[in-house]
Symmetry: D2
Subunit: 310 residues, 4 copies
């Protein structure tokens, strides 16, 4: 998971200084620790003691497992509870409960998540992300697009990127040369990566070096149809439902923890082309939903292969 | 909402006495009060102080409204936190926060909810409820069926009721004579009522005298198609989606707070008969889902016409 | 596919004799042949020449394949087009076009499909089928239930079977002894078999000897989770959607042509028990939908692994 | 419904002349007439006699009504069956059966449908249509956008329109001045109109003068929530499902024949803003699906208030 940096002043530095006027900000806190009695009490007591008003809580403790997960939303006055104190308070609670995770985020103060988007030849997911971003529905900063395919300058994507000042890096790949070092260099300052139908497999070495989350969209309903041409695989298998899966990338291909899945019906009337079109529609929705949930701190890893999605 | 009586010994009195062996029970608490800072803290602190371990919390505070809603699930040892102390602790918290609602329920100790089911001529909802009940999927005691239609003794329903010792009360109705007094007499010891396609309108006087919740299934997607023959209305309106709605009954016909809604697609190929068949299938699922949520204390009234369904 | 026998008088012999009164019956015809120009013309011309009035047609020719599929519904007067002439007319057309399939069925004249249902320990699919049958929503005759598990006489299922005079055959199985010969003996006069969570694998020898269709419900979304414990497999895989699949049984386990699939959402809140409960609900709906489509002659094999479902 | 003009040469004039090389085109024919015996036979015989190969047929005759609807797709060789002969053949059949409708369309030869899109302040439907059009997923020519709101030149929409040479006509409206004459002047050469969240009501006079189909998207699940602010109405009504409806425009507000409807779940967690966002997502999908079906000749009026959608 990604921690929000509190050291730099956010885009709303003005607000931070107008603390003389009591103004409430919205905070999100996620917590994951070994389960014991009293976690909710301590967390909520901390928030209350700082004048914070909780307006949403989700707590989940799996059956027979000893892990505690929570996600809280609260309103607070930064005049009374400054951002850095907020940070240290929750870190303290994290240490108290030996937490795997104690992350707080204040969307209106903290820098937006910075992402890079990797794509190959297929356009649809990248375009959909760019449109949503431009409409304000994707709360991230897009640092660059990286692709192993070129795109002509007068295409919709390239013109869009040019107008919005988003760099496009063409890094051709070949067997044995995934350009991973160069990719790392381009993305090291991002908070997470989005593979928007990027068809190259990132190595374990890359994932370890990058060290942060990578979200992928797979155009099939995992664990069915891993690997290539899932639409073709589904078509040949005679399924009546096709789907898309967004998941965290791990070393194992198409096997990382699933974040979201969506399906649509197909019938004998669907040919491979309409399988693909329906799949593309699902991929767009499924990927953007996963990114949105992730940015809202709703997604937490759960055991080896699962996620809690609050 | 219904409070679970803690004064009578439940079916599991044996367990209550085996408190020498530490055994954890599952408790559910719902709370509704004017929103202030510190409610979650106080509630969770109370549970923790009694050794209770929270494993699920849902908190909801609507935007700009001043109401706080929560639903918590926790494990507790009745040796350490006896049922009556549990009850009084939460009542105390209710008074502290001037709560509209502070209800705790321990499914394994408290008596099951006792319901009466009212039906008219249509069988499908009653039959579905009886089957689910018999399979253990409907955690209620059915005190009786009340109907304004007779049913022949050798029908599936009547044989089922006979075998399980559930009385069937035939109370014919006529304009001006809804038999409400007699119904009240039969249902006064129930926790809530289920109208399973009961086609008579219960008066405001009845609802007030009964004083507890009444759940109805309407065979249309409210607020469309209120009143009679919603399938016919939908068929004539040329809709492409039909639905069912389960809701609390109020004086206003088909206008009480909605608990659950379900839809299914229809097309030109559907005639009135298939509209009705699809509707019946939805009604069964929608009604049983509403009852299940209600019994699990997931349903809370929200403003005049809505519900929170955790 | 199953051909309807026209030699025996159906349950509606009375109607067959009242042909002096012009009365229209509903006929269904399915046709599958190598695609050429003029098939629809010939089929519809045949129907029209006999005074039949087509009220529904579905024609499907896959892209680049050379197979023609059609399903027609028409109204006809048996006084003008007797049942046996109907049969021979469509057989003639079948020969004309070298058809793999030319099947006509008149639900109101022909005997109902006769099925046997095989089950193991799990009850829910059998019970659901029996209820639907009893309510008239499953247009088959159930010749018997065959199970490799015993059921106590006072259980709901056994009482139901007793009341309706449906035999229950307990045939215990062991590795190396699938009792297939005995099963064959019991089912040889059925039109098709339904495996309602029957957990034994029928051998290729059995399928060949039986020679008719066998419909199975698999409690997973094929091709994911073949074989045993698909709910457990799905639970461990961290999927967000679970499903059920009804399909024709072939020698290869869980790989025969898929007829219908249904899904439902799951989340971290679902434990294995609720995965199973949601799955059971899907299995019931998916299996009965497949049987209904099959009985209405809507299901046709398509290439090696698929179906056309009109 | 719109008839495709065969008099003008389509974009594929080149293909039309290369008839010396046998090449098959794809034709779509829809037919609506009083139901009698033999319609399918005559239609299919006509196609077969011209060497046309039918690969898809949908026939629908409503219960107890006397209307016959069909939609056929067929492959034909224009060398053998020229476009103008195709047209006259089907017109002849139309006269033979006294048809309300006998329309044939050859997408690869005929001009694309020409539409104008009307919008008000809300952007999302227009933008989605433009994107789909630009990606080749909306098989129409967009002659212009007409709006009663201005848009700044550097907005995404305006830049897009400029780049693609699509005129934007700002026609401000006021009570008593709907600018309908000017709109008529701008749209008279279109095949149909799309109201993409155009908030003015077109008068009966306009509809009559325009004389062709007008498709509207209503941001509510009709017949619920007609008129203004359906999201607000739905929010206040406490529904658990919201939807969008695309329909033909008639004189009666939001009451014309429904073409398509889509729903999405909402809960207490949704505020008015998320109701609107979910609604916008549905509106985009619902409107484009309706336009796609319409362009493929799948939508036929059925009785006063319904549609057949093949």
């Amino acid at each position: 998971m990604v921690g929000a940096s509190s050291s730099s002043l956010g885009r709303n530095a003005v607000r931070a200084f107008s603390s003389s006027i009591s103004q409430f900000f919205h905070g999100i806190h996620v917590f994951q620790c070994p389960d014991v009695v009293g976690v909710v009490a301590k967390l909520s007591e901390c928030i209350a003691s700082r004048g914070g008003n909780i307006n949403c809580v989700d707590v989940f403790v799996p059956e027979n497992k000893k892990t505690f997960y929570s996600r809280s939303e609260f309103a607070f006055d930064p005049a009374r509870w400054p951002r850095d104190v907020l940070e240290s308070d929750f870190q303290k609670l994290g240490r108290l409960f030996n937490a795997e995770r104690s992350i707080v985020r204040v969307p209106d103060l903290d820098p937006r998540y910075k992402i890079a988007v990797l794509a190959s030849k297929q356009d649809h997911c990248v375009v959909d992300l760019l449109h949503r971003w431009q409409e304000g529905r994707l709360p991230v900063d897009i640092s660059c697009i990286i692709s192993n395919h070129t795109r002509a300058p007068n295409t919709h994507v390239m013109r869009f990127l040019e107008r919005h000042g988003i760099p496009y890096h063409y890094l051709s790949t070949a067997p044995g040369n995934k350009r991973e070092q160069e990719i790392l260099g381009l993305v090291e300052d991002t908070n997470f990566l989005v593979l928007a139908r990027y068809m190259q497999i990132l190595s374990g070495g890359f994932l370890q070096a990058y060290g942060k989350d990578v979200i992928n969209i797979h155009h099939g309903l995992l664990p069915s149809f891993k690997g290539g041409s899932p639409s073709r695989q589904a078509f040949d298998a005679g399924v009546k439902l096709i789907g898309a899966t967004s998941h965290f990338v791990t070393e194992e291909l198409d096997a990382g923890p699933i974040i979201e899945q969506m399906v649509e019906r197909v019938s004998h009337k669907d040919n491979l082309r309409s399988f693909v079109m329906k799949s593309e529609n699902l991929e767009k929705q499924c990927l953007s939903q996963a990114i949105k949930s992730y940015c809202e701190l709703r997604v937490l890893p759960y055991e080896a292969r699962k996620t809690v999605v609050f």
